[in-house]
Subunit: 315 residues, 2 copies
């Protein structure tokens, strides 16, 4: 009884491949057992993986290391373009993570703007727009990939994956939108719906804040380094803001991957959600049979199986 085999671990389907769990120990697997996620992924084919366009990858350097974000211009073209304009103006060099609210968001911004002090110290938006029409939803179109998840959803008429991002659809209203899951990247704004411009971004770090769907512009998700945001000390001020400027986490810089020398670009691939391997992962999460599981969950939530990412630069 005192040999601890940590079987719990194999139930996790974390964001990145290296953390994927080992097969259960203790009882030898049976031929009919649901294979563990790591095995399913190891049996994937080369063509099932997609290399993100470096024009859609942002690389943020924190003192602790690198965070990589994938943007989806099909869902938020104006905001994605504005963020890239800001990035290319070096707007985000030496901004800071100013807020980490437990079970909610990590958020970065110009510290001077947060302090509300001297307006002359606030960074110029330069050629970037100060206001943008909201991109909370967009019309459904044939050009948008759609991998429907048939398991149902509490919030939306239909959920699934588009461009390998978790998303929802309302066929009756002819609308579709990227949903807020763990790791979702979106645009902070004020009350006016056009007040977001991409200079202030947040990442969901707790239970999927689905109530934000269709109320904020989602631009993408974290594809590497999520734990460098999720494990940050929570802010001690109201709403998780760091009460003391010294506690803020400096962002060294943010770059578009395409602007980096080839050797510095993330060498990552995202599993295609229309691939047989991703469907096997979903089915394994839904209908798990092995020595550990007593009752297969039967269903899978849209935010319960993060789309796998692999880093080809790691062994």
């Amino acid at each position: 009884m005192r040999t601890r085999t940590k079987i719990l671990a194999l139930l996790a389907l974390p964001l990145c491949l290296p953390a994927l769990a080992d097969p259960p120990k203790g009882s030898p697997p049976k031929a009919r057992d649901t294979p563990p996620a790591a095995q399913i992924l190891s049996e994937s084919k080369r063509w099932e993986w997609r290399r993100p366009d470096p024009e859609n990858l942002l690389v943020m350097r924190l003192p602790s290391g690198r965070v990589v974000m994938e943007l989806d211009p099909a869902y938020a073209p104006l905001h994605v373009a504005n963020i890239k304009t800001l990035v290319r103006q070096r707007y985000f060099d030496r901004v800071a993570i100013v807020r980490v609210q437990d079970d909610f968001v990590a958020q970065w911004d110009d510290p001077e703007a947060v302090d509300g002090g001297d307006p002359h110290k606030v960074r110029s938006l330069g050629r970037a727009k100060a206001t943008l029409p909201p991109e909370f939803t967009r019309p459904i179109a044939r050009s948008l990939p759609w991998v429907r998840l048939p398991d149902g959803d509490v919030y939306a008429p239909e959920v699934g994956f588009t461009d390998d991002f978790p998303a929802a659809r309302d066929p009756a209203g002819n609308e579709t939108w990227l949903v807020h899951c763990y790791g979702t990247l979106a645009i902070g704004r004020n009350n006016p719906q056009d007040s977001g411009n991409g200079s202030e971004l947040y990442v969901a770090i707790g239970q999927a804040p689905r109530r934000l769907d269709r109320n904020l512009t989602v631009v993408g998700r974290i594809v590497e380094g999520m734990d460098q945001l999720s494990a940050l000390p929570r802010g001690d001020g109201p709403m998780g803001f760091y009460a003391h400027p010294k506690d803020r986490v400096p962002i060294l810089d943010i770059r578009v991957a395409a602007d980096l020398p080839a050797a510095q670009r993330p060498n990552i691939e995202v599993l295609r959600t229309d691939s047989p391997t991703f469907q096997r992962l979903l089915q394994a999460a839904r209908d798990r049979h092995d020595a550990f599981f007593a009752t297969p969950p039967g269903k899978v939530d849209i935010c319960a199986v993060p789309v796998p990412v692999r880093d080809l630069s790691k062994p």
Copy 2:
């Protein structure tokens, strides 16, 4: 545009009162607006709050401060009793958090058992049982409170709150169980379903791992200090285990609150989920109308509104 009012914050409904968000700035609230959560809570009545039985509260001391857990013996009587036996034998004094896996769990255990080294160094379970029948579910009974959440669920036929914990029911199978949300406390085990004994516990720190429902014994939830678990550095070994023993987070001790001097007991209250105020909170999350929201979510997930806790020792 450059005055940042951080409206996003008010959408959060975090675990504890002090973090509850301020009303929106920028646009003056209208009389018909959905009140912010902080206002709803400030209008609660004294009788709507429940003081947890100190026999069901565990107080864990970490170097960083205190974590308080509430246990629910109605759902896991054998495991709750065994944990308390272990606590009263000082089993957990100087054990450690040995695993923090991003978007999944923080877990503590006897480090010697994890290392699998000299069995003589492994702590004795003493009078506690080494194996226990699983308490993954229990029969539905009239004695169990049930505050049904009518919004639906992906995983269970019915969800709601029991003893102010998030839970699910299968009326056809006459079963009920506590569900895995952010902050849920449950028992690690090996493959045999009776191999959990409460000496190894985990807390969910990411997206609700609902696939674990009915497969592991849930004993309660964190009611104070959640961020001291959720913000810990993620383990660098497989499955989020700390690869190096020096990285483990020592647990100074765990005590049953009833065994502490009165002045040291947590002075907390939990909002009753059958109260009008909790129902108002759910309704505000579901059908929000104010200057910020474009589209009310319409629904609320069982894990989306943590049951509020207030600390009466704070101003």
